[in-house]
């Protein structure tokens, strides 16, 4: 793609020891985060985990109780939003209802007092890029949700700021439009090269769009990793359960047949439902509780003793509730977690014990 909107570089964003109190409740418990320049970083987490507060702290819309926020090599902790040189897309788009699409997009340029010829030129480019040219004279209320979303994107990119923040921008769109906008936002970010900080509760969005995923829970960062890594090597039991659908099974050692002795109860064995396969000598002996046929696959709800877990098996075979099955997984697909430290345990020898057939 060729146009003038691309900027030399984005800027990195760094948070050090950021905490935030609302009265007595603490919503951020010491956030240390470094967001690389020009990359797409998704902040992912369940509602109330502090991801929006983190974003608003970067934007300057929320003051932090403690800690520091850096954008590039500038500390901005005490600066108002206007001085932080960033743009933002809000969940409800926050378009000015009394202004036309064109006026909405160039709002920031007018505030900056950019000459009108330059404003016009940039507006033309942005409208072209986002296919908004036919709608420039309309009011936001006369646009569809997807078009409003694109106006909000236009307002964010036209000022060519090095950092762009997005707060769940797709949650008000229907599923089909969401897929389309997901690709469009990704394309825009890669074409223009700004640093993107994207808040979402939807793991699909985070995994498909981001270069780096920041997983948050209860005001803390659980894991920072590339999407592939967070799926392959989740750092905590929370990360293991949160990423991947259906979620990873976390089972204690005593759920396994022929388990090795001397395993502490604090150890959890994590196996994704999709890596389990039928095996007559498998270490998991289970009874089918419910069957969900998905076409290509079949999702089984299983139980072994008191422990329930899921398995996703290729769909050819038919199952019925009450069937007794043996399942196993490959050693490299076994994850170990210590519940005392809520951390991953790297011990391939131990992991392979839970993969081997019980003989």
């Amino acid at each position: 793609m060729k146009h003038d909107l691309a900027q030399a570089t984005g800027q990195s964003v760094t948070l050090t020891g950021v905490t935030k109190f609302w009265g007595d409740t603490q919503s951020l418990r010491g956030i240390d985060l470094s967001i690389p320049a020009g990359k797409f970083t998704a902040i992912l987490g369940p509602s109330g985990c502090g991801k929006s507060t983190t974003l608003r702290a970067i934007a300057g819309l929320e003051t932090v109780t403690d800690g520091a926020v850096w954008i590039g090599d500038r500390e901005v902790t005490a600066l108002p939003p206007a001085k932080r040189n960033l743009s933002m897309v809000f969940q409800n788009y926050a378009l000015f209802p009394h202004l036309s699409v064109a006026e909405n997009i160039i709002f920031g340029l007018k505030v900056e007092r950019l000459p009108s010829a330059e404003r016009k030129k940039r507006l033309g480019e942005v409208a072209e890029l986002l296919e908004l040219t036919p709608y420039l004279d309309r009011k936001p209320a006369a646009l569809s949700g997807g078009q409003q979303q694109r106006v909000a994107l236009g307002r964010a990119v036209i000022s060519r700021r090095p950092v762009c923040l997005m707060d769940e921008p797709l949650s008000n769109l229907d599923a089909r439009l969401r897929d389309e906008m997901r690709r469009e936002i990704r394309r825009l970010q890669q074409a223009l090269g700004f640093t993107m900080v994207y808040v979402t509760h939807d793991q699909t969005e985070a995994i498909t769009m981001a270069d780096q995923v920041v997983l948050m829970n209860e005001g803390r960062i659980e894991q920072v990793a590339a999407p592939q890594d967070i799926y392959r090597r989740p750092a905590t039991p929370f990360a293991a359960r949160f990423i991947g659908t259906p979620p990873m099974n976390l089972l204690p050692a005593r759920a396994f047949v022929g388990r090795p002795d001397g395993i502490p109860d604090s150890l959890l064995i994590g196996i994704r439902p999709e890596v389990l396969s039928l095996c007559d000598t498998g270490p998991l002996a289970a009874v089918v509780k419910a069957v969900e046929f998905l076409g290509a696959d079949t999702l089984l709800e299983l139980s072994t003793g008191a422990h329930a877990f899921l398995a996703k098996l290729p769909g050819a075979r038919r199952f019925a509730p009450g069937d007794a099955l043996r399942l196993s997984a490959r050693p490299e697909d076994i994850h170990l977690f210590d519940t005392n430290t809520a951390a991953r345990v790297e011990d391939p020898a131990l992991a392979s014990l839970f993969a081997q057939s019980a003989t």
Binding site: A82, S87, M88, F90, F96, P97, H98, F107, A141
Partner: protein
């Protein structure tokens, strides 16, 4: 289906009967009366045509009260709206004692105008009124704001502004609270300062309220005369008399009901024109959500 209109009329009738009885019929009767002479004693009223209107044009007091009323409107409307807006913006902020402040600003509205006028009488009283007590501390001479022809109207205007601003503030406050905070945040991110946010976002979004409030203010500036009875009685030398106050005097002191009807017709015409004018003037600039 054909009986729908019967139901429609039945449902409309309670309100319609009262509107007819107290608004439309009196208005038409007033217009009719203005075309006759005033009945006096055994002399019944007779058809006068436009005689009353000729009297009106030749009546210097009418022109005096009309110009008073225009100055009164120009002096009170923009000021009270501006103060109302400023107060609303102020008490919409997160600040300690916000509820108390809102109540304090609204209090003048719930007081009866007669009570308000009496309070202000005490402020204005020459010699020992509040104003003179304060200015006296600085060695300034006594004032007689309500007793001087060139200041009496200003004294009356101050009371009106004090009374009206709190009332209009409530409308602005309600409108401010319907503006999503994310709009203001978006403007802040885009680099706008408080003044730019007010000028380009808040104020345009408040335009429907401004229209509503300004029409109310115009109507009130011709309608609110209660305080004049207490403060000045229209004097001195009609310096603080307003159109409606003059109508009252003509009708119920001088008992010239036909001439009062004529004055009323003029008042109604002025109000009607102003309201229509405001709608057309503002309508293009107002964004309704």
């Amino acid at each position: 289906m054909q009986r729908n209109w019967i139901h429609a009329w039945l449902l409309l009738s309670p309100a319609f009967v009262f509107l007819l009885a107290f608004t439309h019929i009196p208005a038409v009767t007033t217009l009719w009366n203005s075309l006759f002479t005033t009945p006096r004693g055994r002399r019944p009223s007779r058809w006068a045509g436009l005689e009353n209107y000729e009297t009106l044009i030749a009546d210097p007091i009418f022109w005096k009260v009309l110009s008073n009323n225009i100055w009164f409107a120009l002096g009170t409307i923009p000021t009270s709206i501006a103060i109302a807006l400023a107060m609303a913006l102020w008490v919409n902020e997160k600040l300690a004692g916000r509820g108390f402040l809102r109540m304090a600003y609204f209090t003048p509205t719930v007081l009866p105008m007669i009570a308000v006028a009496n309070i202000w009488m005490f402020f204005y009283t020459p010699g020992f009124g509040l104003i003179d007590q304060i200015t006296g501390r600085f060695g300034l001479p006594q004032s007689n704001i309500l007793g001087q022809p060139d200041t009496a109207l200003w004294g009356v205007m101050a009371v009106t502004i004090w009374k009206e601003a709190g009332f209009f503030m409530i409308f602005y406050l309600a409108a401010l609270q319907t503006i999503p905070p994310s709009l203001i945040e978006a403007a802040r991110i885009e680099g706008a300062g408080p003044w730019t946010i007010f000028r380009r976002v808040t104020f345009p979004l408040l335009m429907p309220t401004t229209l509503f409030v300004s029409i109310n203010a115009v109507v009130n500036s011709f309608r609110m005369v209660d305080h004049i009875f207490i403060l000045t009685g229209g004097g001195p030398d009609n310096a603080s008399s307003l159109l409606l106050f003059y109508i009252y005097e003509v009708a119920f002191r001088f008992w010239d009901t036909a001439y009062a009807a004529t004055l009323t017709v003029i008042l109604l015409a002025i109000l009607g024109l102003l309201a229509i004018g405001q709608f057309f003037l503002f309508d293009r600039k107002v964004h309704y959500r």
